[in-house]
Amino acid sequence: MTSQDDHTPLLITPLDQWHRRHGARMVPFAGYAMPVQYDLTGDLAARCRGGVLAEHLHTRTQAGLFDVSHMGQAFLSGPGVAAALEKLVPGDIVGLKPGRQRYTLLTNEAGGIIDDLMVACVGEDRLFLVVNASRKDVDFVHLAAGLPDSIVLTRLEDRALLALQGPAAVAVMGRLSPEAAALPFMGVASVSLGGAECLVSRSGYTGEDGFEISVPADQVEALADLLTGFPEVVPVGLGARDSLRLEAGLCLYGNDIDELTSPIEAGLTWVIGKRRKMDWDFPGGLVMRDQLDNGAPRRRVGIRPDGRAPARGQTTIMAEDGTEAGIVTSGGFGPSVNGPVGMGYVRRDLSADGTKLILIVRGKAVPATVVPLPFTPHRYIR
């Protein structure tokens, strides 16, 4: 997680007071005051004692409610909007049917990643975007500059974003909206949840089944109360969000991907649409094609350190022969794995599963192994 070192006041989400009432420990993240974990009380404490470990495990076994309102939401509309956006991303957007969402990337001419984002088709010539909090200003400037004047970008500052994640999420959603509960993975629909007009997608950032819910800011408290009123649900902070996504092998922008990493190196080649591989007509397309043909110099891999000590981001990775191998980009303790987990970039010749590596943790050599991602199997509904 990033902290801000200047003194600009933190922004808050519409759930700020709700978090504080629920025992949240607030920390700065991407310019916002965000809950990192909760000291739960009352009924909620009886379901989950709170803290990163318990919140993580509760999400894997029941359901967690995350406030991700710091993320950037926007509508993009105008004639030919899908084709226009394809000029900036490698994904197949034209082929995205109404009610469908796709994970894609804004890329630069060098083949680097400006941001990763969700794009949903929510009507004729109308897309809904969700981008990272830390990148929204960069993204929206980039989008405005790269799209024709006929395409209108509308930032949705008046909407909050919740994520309901975990195996019980679908049952909980079914009590509010059978239509939303029936969505397939990466399906999107406008539904009413407890009287609030929401845009719901079957997606998330934990590796579990679940939903992301865009809701008007002035109705998010009532919806959060409604959702945590169900016995399966507790609020979950950013601490567990990070350990959940790491176990799920999902990239965190700024750690695992950035403007200097390509989708090929990052193992995100699948993001490039089949049709897009005919023409490679998106920023950095030819760089990516070359990396696919000739091999990228390094690859993102899963890393399992021996023993119990986590190897954090920026840990140096060595090969067994003592040569430099790469760097850990995300690392910590996986509560479901019950051991240290990480991911990072290593030289291509060291990227095969089972390759032995050496991590330099506080000056000591810790043996580690390249392992397939994810660490915990995805449980998306297909």
Binding site: G51, L53, A54, A240, S243, P310, F333, P335
Partner: protein, 128 residues
């Protein structure tokens, strides 16, 4: 707030110390474990290691981050609590009891008196 204990001393790095003869038992305070959150890994100093005052000699890792634990006073490590390396959650549940970290044979037992007493530590916590 932790209960009053006139024989227990503290550091501003949130270690507690209890002295028995010239042997000091050291752990981290309830405040420290609460701030760190769920501990998942602990590294203790090696036996016989000589440590100076404020020297980093143990590491505690929560899910999110690693933090150093410092020797509150100069001495030699004579005992370590391996129970907490096997189950770090003991430090969360009983930081100032079963969750002790290590015992030091102090170079100078009189240095114990230089540490913060309960009132001074409580006052220090108020300033944080």
């Amino acid at each position: 707030m932790a209960k009053k204990d006139s024989d227990k001393r503290y550091t501003k790095d949130h270690e507690w110390v209890v002295l028995d003869g010239d042997i000091a038992t050291v752990g981290i305070t309830d405040h420290a474990q609460d701030q760190l959150g769920d501990l998942v890994h602990i590294e203790l100093p090696e036996l016989e290691r000589a440590v100076s005052e404020a020297e980093a000699c143990a590491v505690v890792e929560s899910v999110k981050a690693a933090s150093d634990v410092y020797a509150p006073l100069a001495g030699k490590v004579v005992e370590i609590n391996e129970t907490i390396t096997e189950d770090p959650s003991i430090v969360n549940s009983d930081p100032e009891g079963e969750g002790w970290f290590f015992r030091l044979e102090l170079d100078d037992p009189d240095t114990f008196e230089t540490l913060l007493d309960q009132d001074a530590y409580d006052e220090f916590l108020e300033t944080l």
